[in-house]
Symmetry: C2
Subunit: 241 residues, 2 copies
């Protein structure tokens, strides 16, 4: 027979490692532990919480994958508070996209909407410094092309940088996950310097439009750019699966 009070207790008996994880998490959220601080070693934590090391380890796994800590091995190592939550969210989006097997067509449609908004935001508050950062990115990409190498990394980073300049963290999170999906597709294709070069040209043109304060042109170029990327990858869609 269950006590009536049981109805109001937590549905699931929370496991010890979850409680340990929550305790540490609370300390971080309350600001008592900040990024850069070191947590005690596993054995020390086990003693402090009066639990087994295995339990502590599982708690640390939760904190680690939730983006609150990293773990370093060796002397002077141990759990280190480090905030990578936003990256973790991007990772989860990537998993979700992969689970649903999103197509390039779907991705492009979403990017059309998203990159447009990002561009608008970035366009409005872009500083001289940020403009230089983007131009730097394009220059590095051009250097790659000049050396007959693809500039995939730089080209993807271009969009990540733009997202950052929007000043909206949610844009960054979603943009990064979308770029990861794109990177996934690209990594399965044979490197093609010529195609990569065209992407760089597109980026340079968009940048030029921004620098020239021609907003509509920048938007139009971005739209065309995304469409072109999709059509280029289109024939491969079947082979991927």
């Amino acid at each position: 027979m269950k006590e009536p009070s049981d109805l109001f207790e937590t549905i699931r008996d929370r496991r010890v490692f979850e409680k340990v994880s929550d305790r540490i998490k609370t300390l971080i959220l309350d600001g008592e532990l900040k990024a850069g601080d070191k947590l005690p070693s596993e054995t020390a934590l086990a003693q402090q919480f009066n639990v087994g090391r295995q339990t502590v380890r599982e708690a640390l796994r939760l904190l680690e994958i939730s983006g609150f800590i990293t773990v370093q091995r060796g002397t002077g190592g141990g759990p280190l508070i480090m905030d990578t939550i936003l990256n973790r969210i991007s990772d989860l989006y990537l998993d979700a996209f992969r689970m649903k097997k999103v197509t390039m067509t779907e991705l492009t449609a979403a990017r059309q909407a998203f990159e447009r908004t990002i561009l608008l935001h970035a366009y409005d508050h872009m500083s001289e410094n940020e403009l230089n950062t983007l131009q730097d990115n394009v220059q590095k990409a051009k250097a790659q092309i000049a050396g007959n190498r693809v500039a995939t990394e730089e080209n993807i980073q271009f969009h990540s940088l733009l997202a950052r300049m929007s000043g909206n963290h949610v844009f960054v999170i979603v943009a990064e996950s979308m770029m990861a999906v794109l990177g996934d597709f690209l990594s399965r294709l044979a490197p093609d310097v010529r195609t990569s070069a065209r992407v760089v040209e597109d980026h340079e043109a968009i940048l030029k439009a921004i620098a020239g304060r021609d907003r509509e042109k920048a938007l139009l170029l971005m739209q065309r750019h995304l469409l072109e990327v999709e059509t280029r990858l289109q024939p491969f869609r079947e082979e991927i699966a």
Copy 2:
């Protein structure tokens, strides 16, 4: 200094439990294991992978918190494949909010971009049947209000339905994850039938604009609607901790 993009991350010495986790994850992503399938028990997995049970457990923790599996104790229990990624994303968003890495304003700005496009897509291909589904949703919400109950669930579903009608998985994932966050916030507010009623009115008005083939009006109403929801959640921003 950290690279902005970890797409091409350094080849970190991966730990055994991470490899085990990845193996299982790959099986799920490749469709060889589907939602509802049961994984072997921890001891069985340990034997199959030729690793210790503790290692398997840590791998399962990763999969669990990444939203790929749940774990049940007792006879007939064990790891069960279940997709809860969206819940995990919203959990992490909430953490990010508490860490002040993301603001409600940022989330709303992202929603504005997505919901606008979702609406456009849905508007273009909406069938009679789908329109009825949405009207059904509004009717149910109105019934709740008429009974002096909040219609939070129905109101959130309105946006999910709209996202599904866009026919784009990316929109569905992003919209539903954001909606989950809002739902979490709303669940902490005192139920307010009057406010809930206004949301339903907004939805009905949007739907009417769609049915009347007035695209611009629908877009405008949606935009206003989202802004209103934001201001309603604004005071919450400080209290969360």
